[in-house]
């Protein structure tokens, strides 16, 4: 109160700033409740998260793309620079990935489409076996990538 009397203008500004900050909480809470594009909440980053192609392309470098499809499919065509991690050739392929990976690298794993499980399996296996985070599964997989290449 003493301070209030000593500097009423400063206290008024301080109160107004506090009020503005509290006011912004109301729509923020509403957005957290009903916004269709609200972010995921959590204390810890999920070991493996899904990511859209647009977001994956905006990830800060370095980013490693991992092709979880069968090796024959990878040989036919793949995302430029992607590393093949076919689960049936896991032991042979994993060293390529380990060589490319460094701390702070984001990893985007894809398989054929939204319906395939290989990308989730490979992503979880990478997390489990190498104890690394920052692994994403590409929503829509290879089909999403191909779709984005069409003019």
């Amino acid at each position: 109160m003493m301070h209030d009397e000593a500097n009423p203008a400063g206290m008024k500004t301080f109160r107004q700033i506090a009020l503005l900050m509290v006011l912004a909480v109301v729509p923020a809470l509403l957005a957290a409740w009903i916004h269709p594009k609200r972010p995921a909440w959590g204390w810890r980053r999920p070991a493996v998260a899904e990511i859209t192609l647009a977001d994956a392309q905006r990830l800060p470098s370095p980013v490693i793309w991992v092709d979880a499809r069968r090796e024959e499919e990878y040989r036919q065509r793949h995302v430029p620079g992607a590393i093949s991690l076919d689960q049936s050739h896991w032991e042979e392929s994993l060293p390529n990935f380990v060589q490319a990976w460094q701390p702070g690298t984001s990893v985007v794993v894809y398989c054929n489409s939204q319906e395939c499980d290989a990308s989730h399996e490979v992503a979880l296996r990478l997390h489990r076996e190498l104890q690394i985070d920052g692994i994403y599964v590409l929503q829509g997989g290879w089909n999403a990538w191909l779709g984005a290449q069409k003019p």
């Binding site: 900050m21 912004a24 810890r44």
Partner: protein
């Protein structure tokens, strides 16, 4: 001088409203943008991505409406811009290849551009705060 301050206040208010609305439209994308700076823990991303755009919108509106809150809104916007600029500088120093995220998905410009724009914004906000301070002094006209 008063006219210039008024025009600048409305311009800056509108700019922050637009920036806030673009981010409030897609808070999940804004959370990812904040995450790209690699400065904050995961649990802080969602609350900040939901809250900061609305703080920008409310402060921007207070500036445009020229209500009693405009000086406080100006101080808040100045403080936010200082923090955002600090984040941009830290990202530049760490050579992060990211976009600033200042205008939601519409901000695809490089960080160096964002830094230059933020410095101009800081100068304008600082000048406006000084000019508002003069108006608020006892005996001076205005103040609401």
């Amino acid at each position: 001088m008063n006219m210039l301050a008024r025009v600048l206040r409305i311009f800056l208010g509108a700019l922050f409203v637009v920036a806030g609305v673009l981010k409030a439209l897609d808070p999940a994308n804004f959370a990812a943008d904040i995450d790209h700076y690699r400065l904050l823990p995961y649990f802080a991303l969602a609350p900040l991505a939901l809250y900061l755009p609305w703080l920008e919108i409310i402060c921007g509106l207070a500036m445009i409406a020229s209500c009693h809150f405009r000086r406080s809104a100006l101080i808040l916007l100045l403080a936010m811009t200082v923090i955002f600029t600090g984040a941009v500088v830290s990202a530049l120093l760490r050579h992060l290849d990211i976009t600033c995220g200042c205008f939601g998905a519409a901000s695809a410009l490089p960080l160096s551009f964002a830094l230059a724009r933020n410095i101009v914004l800081l100068l304008m906000l600082g000048w406006l705060l000084r000019s508002e301070g003069r108006r608020a002094k006892p005996g001076a006209p205005g103040g609401g």
